[in-house]
């Protein structure tokens, strides 16, 4: 029978179970070992698996990602962490051109079985360099999966699947969800990467979201229900592979599409999804698409201003209402 645990505990279980199952799996990153991570996600792993498999690295983001690639092509299956997802830009060439393209560039002679854990998102006062959700940054760089977990069960099941996948996986964890509690199935719980999840059925409007925005979308959907608007909430569980069929099927029902992301409105996954729909499913649309995202500004350090910049469930609600007027 399922247990109720936190999102961070779910990640910890996924890591522990996979490290027990396969000795090639090693955890690495800044403070992930002895301290158990600055967000308290990895306690106990160092104690259980030792310094060789729970590696506290120097503050060297290029080494963390580039080194993990070197480990992955020589027989290990590293799970590397960048302390904040923003730091993907401190190891961008390593993530986009080494992790994602090493296999292809060398004619398929290697696989790069690694997971890059990326704690993302704004949580009040982190500022422009510790609050981003840069999931879409990988889109123009084929060769890796882009996975985002919106709840504890997915966090565990998707991470376990990512660790077993022979492809590199950029695994985004929202810092604001670590404390979220939820039911997680017992046993060897795996969730297929790239398969969307309909979190709520609806007929009037489709809200596509991932990560923390899924919860806000569900909240908005409840409010909309009270106003007689039936919203369907689709969790993409990431951006690549993208379950376009599920998205199209939902729009076919509703005829209306809202895409909600925490990243700034411009340059994010919402733009990509909107473009795909405008290309492949335009005829299904009864109203213009609406992207709900953060304002196109660097996230202000001041938490009050940050709150004004971030997208809210009320924004999603307003978007839906505007569509149905």
């Amino acid at each position: 029978m399922p247990r109720t645990i936190s999102y961070s505990q779910a990640i910890n279980e996924a890591l522990t179970e996979e490290m027990e199952r396969d000795e090639r799996v090693v955890l690495m990153g800044e403070d992930v070992g002895r301290m158990g991570g600055i967000f308290g996600v990895t306690p106990g792993i160092y104690e259980k698996f030792g310094a060789d498999r729970a590696i506290d690295t120097p503050i060297s983001e290029m080494l963390i990602v580039g080194g993990a690639v070197g480990m992955a092509i020589t027989g290990l299956r590293p799970v590397a962490e960048l302390q904040f997802a923003d730091f993907i830009f401190n190891a961008a060439d390593e993530t986009f051109s080494k992790m994602s393209k090493w296999r292809y560039m060398h004619g398929g002679q290697f696989t790069v079985p690694m997971v890059l854990r990326l704690p993302e998102g704004a949580t009040g006062g982190g500022g422009a360099e510790h609050s981003q959700c840069p999931e879409a940054a990988l889109l123009e760089h084929p060769g890796s999966h882009i996975v985002v977990a919106s709840n504890p069960a997915d966090a565990k099941g998707l991470l376990k699947a990512a660790i077993r996948d022979d492809n590199p996986v950029a695994f985004f964890e929202h810092k604001g969800l670590y404390a979220m509690k939820g039911e997680v199935p017992d046993g060897d719980h795996l969730v297929e990467i790239g398969k969307a999840d309909i979190k709520r059925q609806g007929t009037d409007v489709t809200i596509v979201a991932w990560g923390k925005m899924v919860g806000l979308s569900l909240k908005a959907a409840e409010q909309l229900q009270k106003q007689g608007i039936s919203a369907e909430v689709l969790d993409t569980r990431g951006l690549r592979p993208l379950d376009t069929e599920a998205i199209f099927a939902s729009i076919e029902k509703t005829g209306r599409l809202i895409i909600a992301q925490e990243a700034p409105k411009s340059g994010g996954g919402a733009s990509e999804i909107a473009a795909i729909v405008a290309e492949e499913a335009l005829d299904l649309l009864e109203a213009p698409i609406i992207r709900v995202g953060a304002m196109d500004v660097p996230i202000p350090q001041n938490a009050m201003l940050e709150a004004l910049v971030l997208p809210t469930s009320a924004d999603i609600e307003r978007a839906a209402i505007s569509m149905l007027r």
Binding site: D56, I59, E61, N302
Partner: protein, 318 residues
């Protein structure tokens, strides 16, 4: 060797910085300032001793550990409280609230990169800039033992060596990068890295703020004479957790107790009296003055106005 006035100035500034930090802690307790802060207790000797060797027109790239280098560079206490209160009195007039983004161009405080190491590159650029503009400005860049291991340091240090930049790297080695000890994460000694870039490396114990100042003054003089860069490794101690409230389970009691014996402020106070620069009464007067100034600044900063929505899209573009 520092003269009496310099020693007194160093002590006053260190004590002021400590008082400022205590006052900030109260603001945090009162919920007026955000809790995310990296206390500077233990690094005042390094930050004040080194920074006071600079002129107003020189450039400072501070680090996230405490505020005493910024205070030493001359940024008003009230403005710093304003930054943490996130209000109109702050240097960023409320945009930043808390660590990281204090800036004060008039005093040569160029701001900070929230990603560690970013400031090393900007410091190299500032130093190159003053060289190209033929000013005699010196740039000083602070960072910790952890940030010293980012590749940014290598690119900045190599340029500093190749171009003989008027640049001083101050590595504050407090033995820890959050929970990771220097030994676990570092190959060799930081001070030895200078030689490989073709400039001077000096090691100094940050428990002795006056000794830090001597080393820094020599480095500043060399830089001003066009003799290039210096790397100063300062041994400091982290008297607190990484952030206020860090339980520090990863750290032994011995390590914490040993650190406690290395408080640069306590040691400087004793030295002042020992050297006869000030007597007990003189020191106490200085401390009362400093605390009073801090308290005034804190009170004056409180009524500042929090920024409103209209601020959000200001200053993205010029």
């Amino acid at each position: 060797m520092t003269d009496k006035d310099t020693r007194i100035a160093i002590y006053r500034t260190m004590y002021t910085a400590q008082a400022w930090e205590l006052a900030l802690m109260r603001l945090i307790d009162e919920g007026l300032a955000p809790p995310s802060y990296h206390p500077g207790r233990g690094s005042e000797g390094s930050e004040v001793g080194a920074t006071l060797a600079l002129r107003k027109s020189d450039y400072l790239l501070y680090d996230h550990r405490g505020m005493s280098h910024i205070i030493a560079k001359g940024t008003p206490l009230k403005a710093l409280f304003g930054d943490f209160l996130g209000n109109s009195f702050g240097t960023t007039r409320g945009l930043g609230a808390g660590i990281v983004h204090v800036a004060d161009p008039d005093n040569g405080v160029l701001g900070q990169s929230g990603t560690l190491g970013g400031s090393q590159l900007i410091a190299a650029g500032a130093a190159l800039s003053s060289k190209i503009r033929k000013t005699d400005q010196v740039t000083m860049c602070f960072f910790g033992d952890g940030a010293a291991n980012r590749g940014t340091f290598h690119e900045a240090a190599n340029a500093a060596g190749a171009w003989k930049l008027p640049l001083i790297f101050v590595i504050q080695n407090n033995g820890w990068a959050v929970s990771t000890s220097t030994e676990q994460a570092t190959g060799g000694r930081y001070v030895d890295r200078a030689h490989g870039y073709g400039f001077v490396g000096e090691w100094v114990d940050g428990a002795d703020a006056f000794a830090v100042h001597d080393v820094a003054q020599r480095a500043v003089d060399r830089a001003r004479r066009g003799e290039g860069a210096t790397l100063i490794e300062v041994k400091t101690v982290r008297l607190t957790g990484h952030y206020a409230g860090d339980p520090q389970a990863y750290r032994t009691t011995d390590d914490k107790e040993l650190a406690a014996t290395q408080d640069p402020i306590v040691l400087a106070r004793a030295k002042l009296i020992e050297l006869g620069d000030l007597d007990e009464e003189g020191v106490t007067d200085l401390e009362l003055e400093a605390r009073a100034a801090v308290d005034v600044a804190a009170e004056e900063a409180k009524p500042g106005i929090q920024p409103t929505a209209d601020r959000i899209d200001q200053y993205i573009y010029a």
